[in-house]
Every structure is written in C-alpha cells, then in structure tokens.
Point group: C2
Chain length 153, copies 2
Amino acid sequence: MEVERKFLVPDPPDLDGTEWDEIEQGYLALGADGEVRLRRKADHRLLTAKRGSGLSREEAEVELDGDDFDDLWPLTVARRLRKRRHLIPHGELEIELDVYEGDLEGLVVAETEFASEEEARAFEPPGWIGEEVTGDERYLNETLATRGKPTNR
Amino acid sequence: MEVERKFLVPDPPDLDGTEWDEIEQGYLALGADGEVRLRRKADHRLLTAKRGSGLSREEAEVELDGDDFDDLWPLTVARRLRKRRHLIPHGELEIELDVYEGDLEGLVVAETEFASEEEARAFEPPGWIGEEVTGDERYLNETLATRGKPTNR
C-alpha cells in the first residue's frame, strides 16, 4: 500500500544542483474505475494502467518502444501535462518536487512517499512546504491534465 | 471513416470449414471519451486505444510482447469477453461472425464493414441474418464485457 502526502509549494527552495527529470504525460483513457497513462521520462516511454481507488488501487507499467509510443501519443491530445521533477533528499526521505510547465506554469507540488502511516504522520516538512493537499482531487495529475490549474487560489 | 452494420444471428449457419480466430479481450479503462483494450488473437497480443465517437473516432493499435501483456492483463478483471470469430465470404464482402463464449454463450453477432454508406445501404444479407443492431449500445463489446448479455430478448 502506498502512503503519500502532497503539499503545495508557493515559494520553492533553490533547485540548483538537484537531480531532476523532465516528464511529459498524457491520458489515453480516464474512467470511473481505471485509467491508462503514457509517460515520457528521460529516455523511457512508459504505459501505466491503474485500476480501483484508495486501498485497493492496482497498477501495472510496461515500457514501450519509441514507435509504439508515437502511435499512441496523439490519442492523449487535450489530456496532457509537462513538469520537471526534482528529487530532494530530506533526512531518510526523498521529496519529489514537481514544477509544472506550459498551461500549468506557476504550480509547484511536493510529494513524499512513506513506509507506513505512522511515518507519514511523523513527517516534519522543510520550511518551504506550504498547504497540504493530500487527497484533494483538484491536484491529481489526471485532473490537472484535463481541467488545468485550480482557479480559486 | 468506418461504415459497419451489425446484426443478431439467432440461428447461425453451418460453420464447419470456415476460417476462425479465438479472441479474448479485456478493457484496461473505459471512459466517456476514450477506452483502452487488450486483445489476444491467435499469436498476437494487441493494445488498442480508441478516442472520440461517431465520425471523429480515432484509433491506434500496438503489438505487445507476452510479458507486457501478462503484466497488464490482470487489470482487465471483470471487464473481459471471449469469442470465436468466423470469417464468412459473402460476394465481395466478408462477414465477421462472432460466436460469444463463457458468460455470453448463446450470443452470436454478425458484422460487416463497407467501403461507403451507399454500399452499406445496398447490402443484401444472407438468410440466416436476424435483427439489425447497428448502433445499439447494448451490443458494443465494451458493454457486453461489463454488463453481460442484454436480458430483454
């Protein structure tokens, strides 16, 4: 089971020298019970299927060759996003800091994965971490890709 | 643009000697605008994405290797169907006769693709063709895979 917490980052720290990947992703299908995502990350082209929600969420991922990715990618039109993901060490943990680009420019979100709920509750975030948005559907990537940036902030 | 007509076949013809393929398919995701299907047909393992509906329907298909297919297949649970597809020559045309199996046993559907709407209108079906169900959502494969056989017949 994945335990994650997600936060807004209104004022990001200095990111010079951090490790990062450019990520572009788009959704082939978004259903009430299941989604299929294409993602280009560095040299990797991935197709990820997710099913279910909450505790019973299942996921499978396969690597596509470039031609297959290129054949499928056009079907994600208008359901895409781009972001630069920085990996920031924080004690024993690693914070993924997603700096969104394009239509979502200005949005920066930090996410951390924990080994247990206890560890998640004990998390002491760095000072630049802002409001928590764990579980807020407006900040799911599939929502951001289809509806854009939440407007009421 | 695809022009197709679909018919029920209450009393199928003798299928001995016809060419056929065993088809198993399942859906990774079914959305209002987009679906992703896995299909095993003879030695082929295919992933097909469809988007849009009616005239603007787009489709892309890639072949998966066996391991990738096997990784993704479990996520189609409860959204699967099996059928034997017979190919029946009919003049210049070819009729695909799908004999459903498993939970859908007893359902037989014939489908033919035409080069134009004019040709579709001029189609003279063989005597064993029954009621037309072109455009009837209950007989879409995605509906059959999730909701089963229509009950009110």
